[in-house]
């Protein structure tokens, strides 16, 4: 896939949205005294994707971004599967 600047911007925005949602889930679970371990790895991954893209998206090739997008999609699926539990 050819990653234009507009696509990269949208991708970063989507990552930020997911990071915020995961952060909310972790806060809520923590407030309820429920375990959060199952969410941490996904949360770190999503945040690190955001850090990297925010810092300098030009260092990534299109193949890199395809891979990162696959990781993001996997995280999104995991979040959607378990949200609210």
């Amino acid at each position: 896939m050819v990653w234009t600047d507009a696509l990269k911007t949208t991708f970063l925005l989507n990552i930020k949205e997911l990071a915020i949602k995961l952060g909310q889930v972790i806060c809520r679970k923590s407030d309820l005294g429920q375990p959060i371990d199952g969410y941490l790895d996904t949360y770190y991954l999503v945040c690190n994707l955001g850090f990297s893209l925010e810092e300098d998206p030009s260092i990534f090739t299109d193949d890199d971004l395809d891979y990162l997008y696959a990781l993001y999609t996997k995280s999104l699926i995991v979040h959607n599967r378990y949200k609210g539990i």
Partner: protein
């Protein structure tokens, strides 16, 4: 042309940098800028600052904030007024800010809003968390939680950027609880 601003808080919270990312129609003509004022909402109060007299514009400037695209204008808290009452602070307290720039350029009013989560103090407090580098007594769980704190700080910044004040508050409350529980004291807001 649409006015586009970017706001970045300085690391010590003493001011924030106001960038002008507007794509002007040709070069910015400083004499055409006849009004420029900031309106800043923080904790339900609105503070204003007429920045036009302080911009120091002259013929070499190509944006309203400076003489190059990388230039910026620094906004200090002691310049902000709530009515006639100044914001009595030498720093921007951590929190959610809605910053609006209103200008009149070439006779046309324009404005842009930037939502910001100022978290300079929280970032410095998080930096005071002890490094867990002793391999014989490595606290894996605490290490994970410290990374969680850093990730939440960045998520809170993103929540503010996207105008999600309630999510920003949820995250920052959790960060403050985390730092309080580890005896990390405020650095300049005590």
């Amino acid at each position: 042309m649409a006015l586009v601003i970017e706001v970045i808080e300085k690391e010590d919270a003493s001011c924030f940098k106001l960038y002008d990312l507007t794509v002007w129609n040709g070069l910015f003509v400083y004499t055409d800028l006849t009004a420029a004022s900031l309106s800043i909402e923080y904790l339900g109060d609105t503070y204003t600052y007429n920045i036009l007299p302080d911009l120091g514009l002259d013929g070499t400037y190509i944006t309203f904030a400076g003489d190059s695209l990388n230039s910026y204008f620094e906004v200090y808290p002691n310049k902000l007024l709530n009515g006639t009452v100044p914001l009595n602070s030498t720093y921007f307290p951590d929190g959610y800010y809605e910053i609006t720039l209103n200008i009149t350029y070439d006779g046309t009013p324009d404005s842009d809003i930037s939502n910001q989560g100022f978290l300079a103090e929280s970032y410095l407090m998080a930096a005071k968390l002890p490094l867990l580098i002793d391999p014989d007594n490595f606290d894996y769980e605490e290490n994970r939680l410290q990374f969680l704190c850093i990730a939440m700080l960045r998520s809170a910044t993103w929540a503010a950027e996207l105008g999600r004040e309630s999510e920003f508050t949820t995250l920052t409350n959790k960060i403050n609880d985390f730092l309080d529980a580890r005896g990390i004291n405020e650095i300049w807001s005590t």
